[in-house]
C-alpha cells in the first residue's frame, strides 16, 4: 500500500467506527442464524457480498427457508429496500462528481454508508471522492467479515440458538420506534401496520405479503394529497441514520 492510500484509510477509519460496532454485532448474529438454519458460511459470505443489506438479508433467511417463490422474494426485497431510492435521489449530485468510483459507491449504499457519505466533510488534504469510496469499501468489509465469522462460528460451535431469530424482530421494532419518533405524522406507519395486519388475518402467514404490499401502495397513492404536506417537512435526506 502506498502512502496516499494509507493516509486515506487513516483519515477515513475513525468515521466508520460506529458502523463497525453495529455491523459487527448484527452481522455476527445474522451469520450464526444462517448457520443455524443449515446454510454454509460460503452462502452467507456470497449474500453479504452481492446483496449487502441488513434487513434484506434477515428477511432472506425467512425467504430461503420457505417454499420457492422468486416473484414474492423479489417484490418483498424491492419493498423492504425501497428507501434506497430515496437515498439515491439525495446523493445524485454528490455521486455524479465521483466518476467511475460511483458505481461501486452506489452498489454499496447501505443506510449507514449513506448516512456517512451524505454528511461527512473530509479534511482538505484528502480527495472527497476517494474518501467516500474508502468509507463504502471499509463498511462492506466489516459486514462481510462479521457475517462470515458469525457463520463460521455458528457452524462449529453448537449452542441452543432457539429464539435467536428475534434479533430480526428487535431490529425492525427499533427502526420502527425511531421512524415513529422522527415522523411528524403517522399516516404511513399506521397504513403499513393496518393493511399488513388485515392482510395477515385474511390470507395467512404464507400468502399475506403480496396483497399487503399492493394494499399499502394503493392507500398511499390514494391518500397522497392528504399526506404530501407531512412528507415535505419530514425526511429531507439529512437525518436518516440507522442500522439497515
Amino acid at each position: 500500500m502506498n502512502n496516499k492510500t494509507m493516509q486515506l484509510l487513516k483519515v477515513a477509519f475513525p468515521f466508520t467506527i460506529p458502523i463497525l460496532a453495529g455491523y459487527a454485532f448484527l452481522g455476527f448474529a445474522l451469520g450464526v442464524l444462517m448457520s443455524a438454519n443449515g446454510f454454509s458460511p460460503l452462502i452467507t459470505i456470497i449474500m453479504s457480498t452481492i446483496i449487502y443489506a441488513g434487513s434484506g438479508q434477515f428477511i432472506a433467511v425467512n425467504l430461503l427457508t420457505a417454499m420457492f417463490n422468486p416473484l414474492g422474494a423479489f417484490l418483498l426485497e424491492l419493498m423492504v429496500n425501497a428507501r434506497h431510492i430515496f437515498y439515491g435521489l439525495s446523493l445524485l449530485d454528490t455521486y455524479k462528481q465521483s466518476g467511475k468510483k460511483r458505481w461501486y459507491m452506489i452498489y454499496g449504499m447501505t443506510d449507514e454508508t449513506f448516512s456517512l457519505n451524505i454528511a461527512v466533510k473530509p479534511p482538505s488534504y484528502v480527495d472527497k471522492n476517494w474518501f467516500m469510496l474508502a468509507i463504502t469499501i471499509m463498511n462492506q468489509i466489516y459486514w462481510v467479515l462479521a457475517t462470515g465469522l458469525g457463520a463460521i462460528f455458528g457452524s462449529f460451535v453448537h449452542f441452543n440458538t432457539k429464539g435467536l431469530e428475534f434479533v430480526m424482530t428487535a431490529l425492525f421494532i427499533v427502526i420502527f420506534v425511531e421512524q415513529w419518533m422522527k415522523d411528524k405524522r403517522h399516516y404511513s406507519a399506521v397504513i403499513g401496520l393496518g393493511v399488513a395486519f388485515v392482510s395477515l388475518l385474511l390470507f395467512g402467514g404464507k400468502n399475506f405479503l403480496v396483497p399487503a404490499m399492493i394494499g399499502i401502495f394503493a392507500l398511499l397513492t390514494l391518500f397522497r394529497k392528504h399526506m404530501d404536506i407531512s412528507v415535505a417537512n419530514k425526511n429531507d435526506g439529512k437525518e436518516v441514520a440507522r442500522i439497515e
Binding site: G22, F25, A36, N37, G38, M47, I50, A53, G56, I59, A60, T65, F68, P70, A73, F74, L75, E77, M79, A82, H84, I85, F86, Y87, G88, L89, L92, I106, Y107, T161, K162, G163, L164, F166, M168, T169, A170, F172, I173, V174, I175, F176, V177, E178, D183, S188, A189, G192, L193, A196, F197, L200, G205, F208, L209, A212, L220, R224, M227, V231
Partner: protein, 121 residues
C-alpha cells in the same frame, strides 16, 4: 425452530432466489442514478413515495416478524409480547439501538428456552 429447513429449496432454487433478491436490492440502489439525471427535477410522485414508503415498509416488516405467532396455541404469543415490550421500553428510555436489540433478544431467548419451553410448538 432450527434444523435444516432450507432443504425446502433445491440448490438451483436457492441460487435463483439469492440472485433475484440481490437484483431487487441493487435495483433500489441504482434506479435513481439510471432514471433521474442530476440536472433534471425528480417526478413529484417518486419523491412522495421516497418519503412515505420507509415508514410503511418497516411497519410491514414488524407484522411480518409475527406472522408465525399464534395467539390461540403454544405460548399464546406471550414471550413475543414481553420481549417486544422490553425492546420498545428500553429503546424509548436509552435510544441505544444495539443495546435494545441485544437485551430484547437475550430476554426472548431465555423465555423460549426456559419459561415457555413446554409450550413451544
Amino acid at each position: 425452530m432450527m434444523g435444516k429447513k432450507w432443504r425446502a429449496l433445491n440448490n438451483t432454487q436457492l441460487i435463483i432466489t439469492i440472485l433475484v433478491m440481490a437484483l431487487a436490492v441493487q435495483i433500489t440502489r441504482f434506479a435513481p442514478f439510471l432514471l433521474f439525471p442530476a440536472d433534471k427535477p425528480t417526478p413529484k410522485f417518486v419523491r412522495y413515495l421516497g418519503g412515505v414508503l420507509p415508514s410503511a415498509a418497516i411497519s410491514l416488516l414488524v407484522i411480518f416478524s409475527f406472522k408465525d405467532v399464534s395467539i390461540f396455541a403454544g405460548s399464546h404469543g406471550l414471550p413475543e409480547l414481553i420481549a417486544v415490550a422490553v425492546v420498545v421500553a428500553l429503546h424509548i428510555w436509552k435510544r441505544q439501538m444495539l443495546l435494545s436489540i441485544a437485551l430484547g433478544t437475550i430476554v426472548y431467548m431465555i423465555l423460549v428456552q426456559t419459561v415457555f419451553m413446554a409450550t413451544n410448538l
